[in-house]
């Protein structure tokens, strides 16, 4: 059995190959590998390696296919919006995988919608990064990540067209409250069991909303080890843009620290690089606010998964773990951060 015909448990390699042959204008094309990414649970991510002939010459390519779970996405953000974010960022100084095609025809590969981007060569593995002996590599990657974060936050998002499909905050408070309303709506739509702790976090976030923001920026939304591609000691692409929005750049620092990027390089050193490159000033108070926000956001995206379980339906164990392990961790963490 060749790699191209192995059962993949979700995507049909033959249909994917036929689709990519047409899209890549190839005379012939074989899918040499089709593997589902382990990790990142918001959507399915598939890596497709292809080899073929085009115009009389051999070629190979590596592509990434993003598709919602059959039951929908974990995040309350459409796949099309995620694609548009990649497409808008592709020509900018923010390094992302090149967005290629967004498709909504289920006949193409048997699932829809989906989009394709070119796979960036490198690794997102935290395991490799944190192997003993890689201390200097981690420091350099941490520094480079801080530089990239500065570029994300300095980006002219209007010129990039991001304001055309992302809500534009009109006030400092909007930077938090627009997103909070979006995630709270998704949480309530799932009709969860009464959860006083979640109400406590929502309430605190509304009552404690920052009244100042230095700059309304593009916010990456999910910053952390595992959400960027590195090659050697350089960060070559930023990934996981599904929670991107316009808002307070300190939210990204909250996300980054929540996910432990200061294990790469001490936070003070990362802040110094970031402030020098971006011209922005790090505000620890707002970072703490957004740390609680990140907790609430993860609750809103993960807790509704439990509604997928019932007497006449079930999901696999990874969803049970995600639906309980993430939100209950975040409830505990968020409550501690607000002093309880």
């Amino acid at each position: 059995m060749t790699a191209a015909t192995e059962p993949t448990g979700g995507l049909d390699a033959g249909r994917v190959g036929a689709y990519l042959r047409d899209r890549l204008a190839a005379d012939s094309l074989e899918v040499t590998g089709l593997k589902r990414n382990v990790g990142g649970m918001s959507r399915e991510t598939w890596f497709a390696g292809v080899a073929g002939r085009r115009g009389g010459a051999d070629f190979t390519d590596s592509l990434t296919i993003r598709v919602d779970h059959p039951e929908g996405s974990v995040v309350p953000v459409t796949l099309e919006r995620e694609y548009r974010t990649f497409a808008a960022l592709t020509p900018t100084e923010v390094p992302v995988a090149e967005a290629l095609w967004y498709e909504d025809d289920p006949e193409l590969i048997g699932r829809a919608p989906f989009y394709v981007r070119r796979t960036v060569e490198g690794s997102a593995s935290a395991g490799k990064l944190f192997k003993p002996g890689n201390e200097q590599m981690r420091r350099e990657i941490g520094a480079h990540l801080a530089e990239h974060l500065a570029r994300v936050h300095s980006l002219d998002w209007k010129a990039a067209g991001l304001g055309e499909f992302m809500a534009v905050p009109q006030t400092a408070e909007d930077c938090a409250l627009l997103e909070l309303a979006h995630y709270e709506e998704a949480y309530r739509a799932a009709d969860p069991e009464p959860m006083p702790v979640v109400e406590a976090l929502f309430s605190w976030l509304r009552r404690s909303v920052p009244h100042e923001v230095q700059r309304t920026s593009l916010v990456w939304g999910d910053v952390g080890v595992g959400n960027f591609i590195y090659r050697g000691n350089r960060v070559v692409a930023l990934t996981d843009w599904e929670q991107a929005h316009l808002g307070d750049p300190m939210k990204d620092w909250a996300s980054a620290l929540w996910r432990g990027v200061d294990n790469l390089l001490p936070r003070e050193e990362m802040f110094e690089i970031y402030e020098r490159v971006s011209g922005l000033t790090v505000d620890e108070g707002r970072i703490e606010y957004y740390s609680v926000f990140i907790d609430a956001e993860y609750v809103c995206t993960s807790f509704p998964l439990l509604g997928e379980f019932g007497p006449d339906r079930t999901r696999d164990a990874t969803f049970a773990r995600l639906g309980m392990g993430v939100p209950y961790y975040c409830m505990d963490h968020g409550l501690r951060t607000i002093g309880y």
């Binding site: 448990g9 589902r36 382990v38 990790g39 935290a126 395991g127 990064l129 944190f130 069991e193 009464p194 959860m195 006083p196 702790v197 109400e199 406590a200 309430s203 509304r206 009552r207 952390g224 080890v225 595992g226 929540w258 996910r259 432990g260 294990n263 696999d316 164990a317 990874t318 049970a320 773990r321 995600l322 309980m324 392990g325 993430v326 209950y328 961790y329 409830m331 505990d332 963490h333 409550l335 309880y340």
Partner: protein
């Protein structure tokens, strides 16, 4: 009946981790298998502690709500117009003394009673947010603090059962 449920779960975890997972080469399948093992560990804790945790939690909520009812009574009797109005609106949300039906004897009954009480606590929390609009009232701040401390205790009870499943997304070294 032997083996007990807990012993059977331990057996499943043992088989999964000793005989199956080491043979699984596909990374996704191994990831799923690891999740199964953690869910089984959670089930062991839940089987042992869910009933008593629900009973304790419901008693805690009932006691806190009764304490808030006492505060409401004082606010209504001795407060100014704002306090009297707040006391009336909050009092409407609280269960009348003795009105809470006894829990069923099984887990479903305990869960149903617990969810009813949690719904009342949620209503009180929404009332607190609305009450903020009436200005700074020390009794409101005191009720909020009591409710938030209750929420902390509830979270600790849940954490004791769910901790094996915790996911933080931090790197392994953090």
């Amino acid at each position: 009946m032997r083996p007990s449920s807990d012993e059977l779960l331990a057996s499943l975890r043992y088989s999964l981790s000793s005989a199956i997972l080491p043979k699984v080469e596909d990374r996704w399948a191994r990831y799923v298998g690891t999740a199964m093992d953690l869910v089984l560990e959670h089930l062991q804790l839940r089987l042992a502690g869910e009933g008593s945790s629900l009973t304790e939690d419901s008693a805690d909520m009932a006691a806190v709500l009764a304490g808030i009812a006492d505060t409401v009574a004082v606010m209504g009797a001795e407060g100014d117009d704002v306090r009297r109005e707040l006391a009336t609106s909050l009092g409407d949300l609280l269960p009348a003394p003795g009105s809470t039906p006894p829990p069923g004897e099984d887990l479903a009954g305990l869960t149903a009673q617990n969810e009813r009480l949690r719904a009342v606590v949620v209503d009180v929390m929404r009332w607190l947010d609305e009450a903020d609009g009436r200005g700074s009232v020390p009794e409101v701040a005191d009720v909020r603090d009591r409710v938030y401390r209750l929420v902390r205790r509830q979270t600790d009870r849940n954490t004791a059962l769910v901790r094996p499943l915790f996911m933080s997304f931090g790197p392994a070294a953090s």
